[in-house]
């Protein structure tokens, strides 16, 4: 049945007997004009929405470079106590673009992960992994404590109490030209394996690393 109706379908307006048909006209002028008007409207709407949405969403896919920055000489740090250092994560926005990092030397007694080229110095971010409040290192109790919702982390940055979902983030460190330098941020799971940086509140253990995908443009350093 459908085949038959297709075969019988008139190819031109004159075949269909539509009044005012031109010779060889396959679509009525009225239908053509309606389509043109709709098409022009769609183009006009796209001209408004495409550029607007594009610049609104663009920052999500922009590359965010964090250059290595020197924070001191090796003599400033030891392997037992943390030294707070201020680094710049976003340039040109004053205090807002700065963050506090707690730095010490790698220690066989404290650190469980293997020594490699990026962890001669352990640089721990002060960003709480519950919702991003600033944690403070309390030397007396050897804990990082968050003022907002009671999150607490041990000397290694592992969660000991409260709502945080993963250990404190860290920054890559290296020794260059006699200076200790801090590089990009990375996140850790509870086994202290490195992951591309995630926001606070996003666990990377198990399924977490898949349901909280890392940014396509901000990844951990290759081979680390």
């Amino acid at each position: 049945m459908p085949d038959e109706s297709k075969q019988n379908k008139p190819k031109t307006t004159s075949e269909a007997g539509i009044p005012g048909a031109y010779e060889g006209e396959s679509v009525t002028r009225r239908r053509f004009m309606t389509g043109t008007a709709h098409g022009a409207g769609a183009v006009a709407m796209a001209a408004i929405t495409v550029p607007s949405l594009a610049i609104g969403v663009a920052p999500v896919f922009e590359k965010h470079d964090q250059p290595w920055q020197a924070i001191g000489v090796p003599g400033d740090f030891d392997d037992q106590s943390y030294v707070p250092k201020t680094i710049t994560t976003t340039a040109g926005v004053g205090e807002v673009g700065k963050t506090t990092v707690y730095v010490r030397k790698y220690s066989q007694q404290i650190d469980s992960e293997k020594r490699d080229e990026y962890n001669a110095y352990i640089a721990i971010s002060s960003r709480c992994m519950h919702l991003g409040c600033p944690v403070r290192y309390v030397a007396a109790s050897e804990l990082f404590i968050c003022p907002c919702h009671g999150g607490a982390y041990d000397k290694q940055g592992k969660v000991t109490d409260g709502p945080p979902v993963r250990p404190l983030d860290r920054f890559y460190t290296r020794l260059k030209d006699g200076l200790v330098e801090i590089g990009p941020r990375f996140s850790l799971n509870s086994e202290m394996q490195r992951f591309s940086p995630r926001d606070p509140g996003q666990p990377v253990d198990g399924i977490g690393q898949y349901i909280y995908p890392a940014r396509p443009t901000v990844r951990k350093l290759p081979g680390s």
Binding site: P59, H130, C133, Q202, Y212
Partner: protein, 264 residues
């Protein structure tokens, strides 16, 4: 005389002049005529008086009480926010290094700046409270039922948009409290699975709180959301006028045919 029918129902029309008043106040009469003819000129070209009559002189059910003013109160709160917001924008600088200083200047040095900012700040809380009271009235009076479901849906959208307004506006003073509240708020958004991380980056304009985050919040707060809210308030009011208000649930329908009065 102009043919304008003022939007006044028959019962409220002023009584005809007494004969003794004739000849007095001729000047006033002429002034009134000028005003009426000006309004008439506009009405003849726009037919606005019909719409005004339709909007303002509606039949309302018996038992209508003070709870029915909560919607108007919310509308007033929104208008207050809109007007004070426009004037606050004349002093505000959405720049990460200058925002706090511009607010400090407005609050401490501009004549009545503290009052204008206070109206906006406390008015926002009042608006949220009024919305919830208005919503509670609608719920407990059963005014969300057929045929008014669509107006409930619009109302919920307005509630959510108002909460977005509160969230985006909270950052703008750019003191420690607003900065950290926004850090936490964006992180909460980020805990949504799959889309959460992208949503956070969209709100912050990148992986870190950066140079355009404040401008982004400001634009959403003062341009995007107010426009959508104003449009939806228009739709909300249109549906109220079209469907009328409901009687309170304790009012019984008049079933006695003797009490019924047929009105054409």
């Amino acid at each position: 005389m102009p043919k304008l029918k003022l939007p006044i129902p028959p019962g409220l029309k002023p009584p005809p002049k007494r004969p003794s008043e004739n000849g007095h106040g001729e000047e006033r009469g002429r002034l009134k005529e000028v005003g009426v003819s000006a309004v008439d000129w506009i009405d003849e070209r726009t037919a606005l008086s019909g719409g005004a009559r339709w909007m303002m002189f509606r039949k309302i059910p018996r038992g209508t009480n003070w709870f029915y003013t909560l919607g108007s109160a919310t509308l007033f709160a929104f208008l207050s926010q809109a007007v004070t917001g426009v004037f606050l924008a004349m002093y505000y600088d959405p720049n990460a290094t200058r925002a706090y200083e511009s607010i400090r200047h407005l609050t401490n040095e501009v004549f009545m700046g503290e009052l204008a900012r206070g109206m906006h700040k406390w008015g926002s809380t009042a608006m949220v409270v009024l919305i919830f009271l208005h919503m509670g009235r609608t719920f407990f009076f059963g005014a969300y039922k057929y045929p008014r479901e669509m107006n409930w849906v619009i109302g919920v959208a307005l509630l959510i948009l108002t909460l977005f307004m509160s969230f985006t506006g909270y950052l703008l003073p750019f003191d420690q409290r607003s900065y950290w509240a926004t850090i936490v708020g964006v992180a909460i958004n980020g805990t949504g699975p799959l889309v959460g991380p992208y949503l956070s980056d969209f709100m912050r304009a990148g992986p870190e709180f950066g140079a355009t985050t404040l401008a982004r919040f400001y634009a959403i707060h003062m341009l995007l959301l107010p426009g959508i809210i104003a449009a939806l308030i228009g739709a909300h009011l249109y549906l109220v006028a079209r469907q009328g208000t409901t009687a309170p649930p304790w009012m019984k329908a008049d079933n006695d045919p003797k009490l019924r009065r047929d009105e054409a």
